[in-house]
């Protein structure tokens, strides 16, 4: 291997294993059996072929396009050379920086009015359920967090391709014959079948920009209750860039899931590029199949800094792919709210359901809307 003299003190397998460990430290899921396969692969191509070693490592240690970039970086750092193979990889998700939005974070004047006489007499939990999350103190937020465990998200259902046994429907010739065969050809009751149902995929796009920061924690907890159910759910955060956070949110424990999610999102409370984020989602995941026939829920206040027509165009594309598009706007639940922000105006024609998302009660409604979609 073309490693300078300093490394000649080490055995080649130690160098290679060290590289695998470094790669694991960088966040690629390198397991012991992958390390073994790596050594076997390198042994097969031979240490004298640097580009072969590079490709062997990539094939055995990586398992997704996201891993490839990390692999290149760690490879360059560990072996002290530019990557041996030449592969111009296009910048798939350009990072864009924008000044955070100033002002207008939901004016606080109307929120207190929500606590009317009825709520005042109800239990503390009941009040909490209807309070705007943005107005809660830290102790109340902690109590609210426990309430998420009560939410029971259900996935909407769609007709499946595969037939299932049923009491009515069409004759299931194969099963009838199989039963008959089991009785040595003796005729018996006729079996029926009909198309069953399967859960629809639910895609959650959560805006984590500055203007949504009072709600970000609650929305991610809601996303976690969805992701942790084991239903076909995918979660992305939208800010200055799009981040796929389904995997960190899949853990059962909500606190750990949120910490893991926070670590993987680079752009908390920054600016928003909604249209760009939705476009990247559609290009990299949605059009490939993730959005097809799915229920897509966008959590955002619709503050779009860029041209609103761009958002309208992306929402049109999203609507054309998805089964149903639900827009959740925390400000929707406030009295006197009018959808006048340019982004929302552009997106409204392409939305099936426009619902509030400012309190626990609103989340319960949302769960219902999604389940019935």
């Amino acid at each position: 291997m073309s490693v300078p003299e300093a490394a000649t003190l080490h055995a080649p397998d130690a160098v290679l294993l060290g590289f695998a460990r470094a790669l694991r430290a960088s966040g690629v899921a390198v397991t012991a059996d992958r390390e073994r396969t790596y050594l076997e692969a390198v042994a097969a191509v031979g240490l004298m072929d640097p580009s072969g070693v590079y490709w062997a490592g990539q094939a055995t240690l990586c398992s997704s396009p996201a891993d490839l970039e990390r692999y290149d970086q760690v490879y360059a750092a560990w072996f002290g050379l530019e990557r041996a193979g030449t592969r111009p990889r296009q910048e798939t998700s350009p990072t864009l920086t924008m000044a955070p939005l100033e002002g207008d974070q939901g004016s606080g004047e109307t929120q207190e009015q929500e606590e009317d006489a009825v709520h005042a007499q109800a239990s503390a939990t009941e009040v909490l359920r209807h309070r705007d999350i943005a107005t809660l103190g830290s102790a109340e937020r902690a109590r609210l967090a426990a309430l998420f465990a009560v939410l029971r998200p259900r996935a909407p259902r769609r007709r499946a391709h595969r037939p299932t046994p049923a009491a009515r429907g069409v004759v299931d010739a194969r099963r009838t014959l199989r039963d008959q065969l089991r009785r040595m050809g003796e005729p018996g009751p006729i079996a029926w079948r009909r198309r069953g149902t399967r859960p629809r995929r639910v895609v959650l796009l959560v805006d984590v920009s500055g203007s949504m920061s009072p709600y970000a924690d609650a929305l991610l907890r809601l996303s976690h209750t969805y992701a942790a159910t084991g239903l076909p759910v995918e979660v992305f955060t939208l800010g200055t860039r799009l981040t796929h956070v389904t995997r960190p949110l899949r853990q059962r424990d909500p606190e750990r899931a949120l910490v893991a999610c926070g670590n993987s999102v680079p752009d908390w409370s920054g600016g928003t590029r909604l249209a760009q984020g939705i476009k990247v989602f559609l290009d990299r995941w949605g059009r490939r199949g993730m959005a097809r026939g799915a229920v897509v829920v966008v959590f955002s206040d619709g503050w779009e800094r860029e041209a609103p027509e761009a958002l309208g165009e992306q929402m049109r594309r999203l609507r054309a792919l998805a089964h149903r598009v639900v827009w959740v706007n925390p400000h929707r639940g406030k009295t006197g709210y009018e959808p006048v922000q340019q982004g929302i105006v552009a997106a409204l024609p392409h939305i099936d359901d426009f619902v509030a998302g400012h309190s626990m009660a609103a989340f319960e409604e949302l769960v219902e809307v999604v389940a019935r979609a």
């Binding site: 899921a29 397991t31 059996d33 992958r34 396969t37 076997e40 692969a41 097969a44 191509v45 580009s51 072969g52 490709w55 062997a56 990539q58 094939a59 055995t60 990586c62 398992s63 997704s64 396009p65 490839l68 193979g85 592969r87 111009p88 990889r89 296009q90 910048e91 350009p94 499946a160 391709h161 595969r162 194969r174 014959l177 199989r178 008959q180 065969l181 040595m184 050809g185 389904t246 995997r247 290009d283 995941w285 059009r287 490939r288 199949g289 993730m290 097809r292 165009e313 594309r317």
Partner: protein, 297 residues
């Protein structure tokens, strides 16, 4: 000789694949060679139209092995991937036995055994691959299948055997060469990925794509091929396209222009035939507006 050992190095495999018209770059050839040598399944991901399926076909041809293809779709299960009993023929057999030997006493167990005989077994792709191995098994678009199917496939890919309760266990004499392709509509399970070697296929660079066009469409004139390839490469630089053209589109475009009698790409013919390479209304508007710049670059 064992087909997996036929190529001593990745370079030789590149040559072999080139002989069938598939031009693999060094990275893909290395990974494919490793998959043969280490007897591992190869998981290929990449944009549609970058030659994932074509690699399996080319490998089968190069190694002179039968190609067995399993196209995955939603709801696919073991009876479609592995084996099934031919029920109508079994019934027919029962009736025939009845008719011939109605008055003779027959051994019931013997008739039962006849029912679950090889001739009533419908071998589906995975079983065929295990029985006919050495063979190339292409599991196409694995991401379209369900999770349960993935788990089932994992079992086959790790032990190279399946058990048919009525017949016994079928084990592959030599593991088949397995190529899995995925378009990433769904994240595959880690357990399956761990079994496989992984490779991401990118769009080819200018020189390689030109080579591909020259070898696949030799009738197209050299200047036309060069112009089409460089136009397509420029199109791919534009990240705002909904669907950048793949190699298949490049080939189609070059052939279409050739059929129209063009020997070079000018503004008029390019605009008229743009629909061959660009398949979205938004994209074609965008490209038409910038066609001038694309052709001159």
């Amino acid at each position: 000789m064992e087909p997996r050992e036929a190529f001593a190095s990745a370079g030789e495999l590149t040559g072999g694949l080139g002989g069938t018209g598939y031009l693999a770059d060094a990275s893909l050839a290395t990974v494919a060679w490793l998959a043969l040598r280490l007897q591992r399944p190869l998981l290929l991901e990449g944009e549609p139209g970058t030659g994932k399926t074509a690699l399996a076909e080319a490998l089968a041809e190069t190694l002179d092995l039968p190609l067995i293809r399993l196209q995955c779709y939603e709801g696919i299960d073991a009876t479609q991937a592995l084996y099934d009993w031919d029920f109508p023929r079994q019934i027919l057999h029962l009736r025939a036995v009845e008719a011939v030997a109605a008055d003779q006493a027959r051994d019931v167990a013997q008739i039962e055994d006849q029912l679950f005989d090889q001739r009533f077994l419908l071998a589906r792709p995975v079983l065929r691959a295990l029985r006919e191995s050495p063979a190339v098994l292409l599991v196409d678009e694995i991401d379209r299948a369900d999770d349960e199917f993935e788990a089932f496939l994992l079992e086959v890919l790790s032990t190279w055997q399946v058990t048919i309760p009525e017949l016994g266990t079928v084990t592959a004499a030599t593991p088949p060469v397995v190529i899995l392709t995925s378009n990433r509509t769904r994240e595959l399970h880690d357990a399956l990925k761990r079994r496989c070697l992984y490779h991401w296929i990118d769009h080819p660079g200018l020189a390689r794509e030109l080579e591909i066009v020259r070898s696949r469409a030799p009738e197209v004139s050299e200047t036309l091929a060069a112009q089409v390839v460089s136009a397509v490469q420029t199109l791919r630089q534009d990240h705002d396209l909904i669907k950048p053209p793949g190699v298949a589109e490049t080939l189609d475009w070059a052939r279409a222009l050739h059929e129209l009698g063009s020997t070079s790409l000018d503004l008029e013919t390019a605009s008229a035939t743009l629909g061959v390479a660009v398949k979205y209304r938004e994209d074609s508007e965008r490209v038409r507006a910038a066609l001038d710049r694309i052709l001159t670059s």
